[in-house]
């Protein structure tokens, strides 16, 4: 003990005192009450005689007091949620570009441009023409399944199915007229002196719906005629009415009596076979008639015949 006292000189009061350096180092812990009993007492005694350390302690205490008040700052949950939400590429992009600082008009313009771009892309990419063909428009997709002729008073109704076979058979194979059992009446051909009738095919001209045991008819018959009238307009009216009266209906795209040219009218129609004679008689009474028949791939239903008559004004 005496040896130790020789090495470490004691203060005038006989105590081992704190130096200002160490005192300053302990002031913060002293202010926070973190010192042990011995050091606290030693520092307290030191402070009694050292004003600079006391001033420093006051400053530390003031700082602690201010910090304790500042520590009561609260953070709203909305901010915490904003911080905690996962970042997406879009959120990072918006942050980097300071999107929130952009003018409102620019934001609206950008959003409108995006909507318009999406709309245009949809318009361009989607094949609207195909979409329209998928049953949206019925035009062009009409299929004639059957033609049912409504009977006029006193007439025998003819209800048969029309077979529309526009393709031409390369080789006609018509059953000879005398042999079939159920044969429609052979439409007569009227020879006209002024005109040359079209030659009747060497093969039988009758078109018949044969029995199931007989070979199938693969070719029909078409009647072509030319009528020359003195008054074309009046003739058109009378002929159109007559055809309708006899049960005729248009068989093509154009209406009955379509004026092909200023001096000719066109009739493409079907009518009951039994009315053929009446029609011919009427036409002959209206002008000069040349009419004949010829084979045609289009097969008409049983009991119906098809005619193409051109009415021309007399020159």
């Amino acid at each position: 003990m005496e040896h130790q006292n020789e090495r470490i000189p004691l203060s005038k009061k006989g105590r081992r005192e704190l130096t200002p350096f160490f005192a300053r180092e302990m002031l913060a812990d002293f202010a926070r009450d973190r010192l042990d009993e011995e050091r606290r007492e030693s520092l307290t005694k030191h402070l009694l005689d050292h004003a600079p350390e006391r001033a420093e302690l006051e400053r530390i205490r003031a700082g602690l007091q201010y910090a304790s008040r500042l520590a009561k700052t609260n953070v709203l949950p909305s901010v915490l949620e904003k911080i905690d939400e996962p970042e997406t590429y879009l959120s990072v992009l918006l942050k980097k570009t300071n999107y929130e600082l952009w003018p409102v008009t620019v934001k609206w313009g950008l959003e409108a441009a995006m909507v318009l771009s999406i709309f245009m892309a949809v318009l361009i990419v989607i094949p609207w023409d195909r979409a329209m063909k998928f049953g949206l428009s019925p035009r062009g997709r009409e299929i004639i399944l059957a033609e049912v002729e409504h009977p006029r008073p006193g007439e025998i109704p003819l209800a048969v199915a029309e077979v529309s076979t526009p393709e031409a058979s390369p080789a006609p194979s018509v059953v000879p007229a005398p042999t079939p059992v159920a044969v429609a009446a052979t439409p007569p051909t009227k020879p006209v002196a002024a005109a040359e009738t079209k030659p009747v095919a060497s093969a039988p001209s009758a078109v018949a719906v044969v029995e199931s045991a007989k070979p199938k008819v693969t070719q029909g018959m078409l009647y072509r005629g030319v009528l020359i009238v003195s008054d074309l307009d009046l003739g058109i009216l009378r002929i159109t009415d007559k055809i309708a009266e006899l049960g005729g209906r248009k068989a093509g795209e154009v209406e009955l009596g379509w004026k092909k040219t200023s001096s000719s009218a066109y009739y493409h129609f079907s009518m009951p076979e039994g009315k053929y004679d009446s029609l011919v008689k009427f036409l002959e009474g209206s002008g000069e008639l040349v009419i004949g028949n010829e084979p045609h791939p289009r097969i008409m239903p049983k009991g119906l015949i098809r005619l193409i008559v051109t009415v021309e004004a007399k020159r």
Partner: protein, 159 residues
């Protein structure tokens, strides 16, 4: 990461920048980094991770507290560039803290923030910085003395 940890991170950056946008941006990055750190080092306490991540986040940014040049601000015009995300105690003037941000070093700022504002233990701060506790206490003492010295017989200004 608990809500308290996220709150601590948010407050740290808010007190460092006094700018809500910067604080949110830095906090978002720090929270993600803290989660990753927690996943890799589950033995570390939340306080240690927050200290480590916030120190790194602050070091990667500009010096905090760089507000307007001295002399251009008046008591009446001082205001925080913050919205309504942070609610300061009523009647607390912020000019002292702003001046502290200007004069204190980053170490002193961090020490005061972690210890006095966020309430972290000296041991956790020391472990988070890989420093002795004595160093942490030393920095804290200087920081508190500097902060206290800025407080003076001036009028309290309510923000």
């Amino acid at each position: 990461m608990t809500e308290q940890d996220i709150r601590s991170i948010a407050l740290f950056f808010f007190f460092s920048f006094l700018d809500e946008e910067k604080a949110i941006e830095a906090s978002t990055v720090a929270v993600a980094a803290a989660r990753e750190r927690k996943r890799r080092h589950p033995e570390e306490s939340s306080a240690e991770i927050v200290v480590r991540i916030t120190a790194a986040g602050l070091a990667s940014r500009e010096k905090p507290g760089a507000i307007a040049p001295e002399g251009t601000e008046t008591v009446e015009t001082i205001r925080l560039t913050s919205g309504t995300g942070w609610v300061l105690p009523a009647g607390l003037e912020m000019r002292t803290w702003k001046e502290f941000l200007k004069t204190a070093t980053t170490d002193e700022l961090c020490a005061v923030t972690w210890s006095s504002l966020l309430g972290f233990a000296d041991e956790d701060i020391a472990h988070g910085l890989d420093l002795p506790e004595g160093t942490v206490r030393y920095r804290l003492g200087r920081a508190l003395a500097k902060l206290g010295g800025l407080l003076g017989p001036r009028a309290s200004v309510v923000r």
